[in-house]
Symmetry: C2
Subunit: 451 residues, 2 copies
Amino acid sequence: MKIILLSGGSGMRLWPLSNEARAKQFLRVLRNEISGELESMLERVYRQLLQVVNADDIIIVSNKIQVDMIHNQLGNVPIVVEPERRDTFPAIALATTYLYSELGIAEEEIVGVVSVDAFVDVVFYQKVKELEQLVQSTNAELGLIGVNPTYPSSKYGYLIPKVMHHYMEVGHFKEKPSEEEAEHLINNGAYWNSGVFSFRLQLILQKLKKLALPLSYNGLMEQFSKLSKNSFDYEVVEDLHAIVALTYDGYWKDLGTWNTLTEEMSQNVIGNGAVSEECENTHIVNELDLPVKVLGISNAVVAVSADGILVTDKPSSSRMKDMLHEGLFSRPMYVEHSWGSYRVLDFSNGKDGEVLTKRIHVKSGKNSGYHYHRLRSEVWTIISGKALFVQDDVVHKVLPGVVLQIPVGSKHCLYAEEDTELIEVQIGSLVADDDVVREIFDWNRIHLSNH
Amino acid sequence: MKIILLSGGSGMRLWPLSNEARAKQFLRVLRNEISGELESMLERVYRQLLQVVNADDIIIVSNKIQVDMIHNQLGNVPIVVEPERRDTFPAIALATTYLYSELGIAEEEIVGVVSVDAFVDVVFYQKVKELEQLVQSTNAELGLIGVNPTYPSSKYGYLIPKVMHHYMEVGHFKEKPSEEEAEHLINNGAYWNSGVFSFRLQLILQKLKKLALPLSYNGLMEQFSKLSKNSFDYEVVEDLHAIVALTYDGYWKDLGTWNTLTEEMSQNVIGNGAVSEECENTHIVNELDLPVKVLGISNAVVAVSADGILVTDKPSSSRMKDMLHEGLFSRPMYVEHSWGSYRVLDFSNGKDGEVLTKRIHVKSGKNSGYHYHRLRSEVWTIISGKALFVQDDVVHKVLPGVVLQIPVGSKHCLYAEEDTELIEVQIGSLVADDDVVREIFDWNRIHLSNH
């Protein structure tokens, strides 16, 4: 059974530690119970899935800006990259065509779709795998996982049974009922809808046919913008009648807000920080070197990154979006790439133009692309490591203390022979990540001018 | 009447916005009711004193590290600089000898001592001035100001009257009574001790004679370390019998903690920050560009500077000291000098040595001292302004974009023709503010090598 793992989400609900490039699923704040180390939601789900299926059977769907982060955390796994963010139906449809036209999976084959948001026991994924058998034997159109509710939540969707066997024949759905309604539903045997889907490829392929869209991966990739921005529930599930579900009685939590995420955090303080003794249930997540001290405040989260500082009491953290419209940086302040990462140290926009100062880390054996800038010059001061620096087709060996001046239009890149760090000062009429004109450099033809 | 203004305090009670160089009295968080602009405690007290005495009559006592800050805020005022921090008795004794031997004030003259910590109406300082007449006419040894208590505080000292005239003959003192005792004292006519002192110079001069210490300013400066680290109350007041006090019925508050300071803040948010609507009585003071968001937390202070981040509920803020022992930076992250200021952007200590990145601002018309470093090289990238850069006795004109490399041992300084900013990267075996060897450069002999 192939598993489609949706990992494209972003959003600001875990600001300031998530931004466009770095969504919540990449935050290393959970504890791996086996190794004792910190791990991210993505790493946790992937590790749990590997206990149930083979690595080859997992297809991750994400977007361009997150590809480097996924490869950094999971290694070189296959990723279906959405050309743009649309919603869960387009994402699942694209992954389905990938399985169909690229991997040659038959249209009768049953796949499972899981998302990276849920914090569960591995038993949950065993149930996902069992859905294949259940959908097969019941000849259902769709298989789901119902979670045994622990309280009458008004935030979840509910599955209401028509008939209960060892599995559920789903009668109908109820999205976000009031607590009273939820209590009534639970008393009548309803389960939380976990958001897992299992279906035959043909369910999606037929839908694409109806929409007059291609069934091939490359074809659909080109016409991706024609898929409407709808959820899988809205676009597919609402039209179905034969729906079954397995029930799951274990731990299940949506790690979507600071409130729920910190409940699963491995320790109260991650990073440089301290809470005074009388603070109960208060968490600090601090990605900066800046020390954080919390005195006499309970049930709160203090989250600090290069993007900003959040101080929230836990119940309020779900209302975050409303707060986040003013005063935020327009640029991401910390970004990871496959070649390394950078942190913005300082930015200003004065009468002499824009100035951006970064600390850049290039991993040993990696290089940035060969490129030049139209609107800015750069000054690099190497502060650690050992690297080759190519400028206008000439290669220089560089060591700590070396200063490199890169005028507008000068082609350059850096290859790290060892982990290399530098302070970069960009000065120009506009300093933007997209002022990059890529060039080709043939690393095989290196000659060292400075040997 | 001469006024000695004690402004040497530092301490961590308003961390992270106060550090060794930048004590609480320099924070510009109060509103000047007249101009509507932000002002510091020092600026406020000095402005109020000028309504009562002449500028020439005010002598500020502080320490070396705060001199530049005081000049930045008040202009070129006279400052008695303690060779080291000891306590209020040594500070007042040193200022007394300055008045006596340097300004030639007679030993029968009466002076007033006020501190920068109190937030009061200007009437308070009028009372201070009236003490001169009272001490004179009653032939008392010491004059004080009693504040009419508004509640039975256990944090203040109390003056208990022997006889009440239009002034008080002080019977005895009670330091920090319990609230019950305080209530009893207030019912019997006690007042809070405001910490103001007024006395004839000879009171201190005789004390110095007894201690076999010099009465001259320069002499006492040299033997300053022989003065014991005692408060004026302990060293002088305890032995006196003829003590009088004027009473003051207006606003009086000690701005020593975030709790009391924020009550006088001109606005709830200073700097880049926002609090959600339901936060009551919550303040943000943010000196960084980093946006700060507070959600659903009332009665709290979030204070952010290059030194760190504090999140405290207001009653807890007085217990700050206990928290501040671990994880703080050992270097000040933001420092003001007479020539400008710098902010530390980044620091690391790796196998290739220490690396410190600063953003430096040099004010128009100012220059740093001519100097070189033994243990570090520096790279300066000019990012705004216009300046003359002197290196090894050669003068260069520099503009934004220019990169200056300063190896170990190379003499250098910068004179800003306009406000000039630069990014500095220091690399060395040790990067410390005291690795500076001062040299002389004669600015009159400038020749421009790069004209």
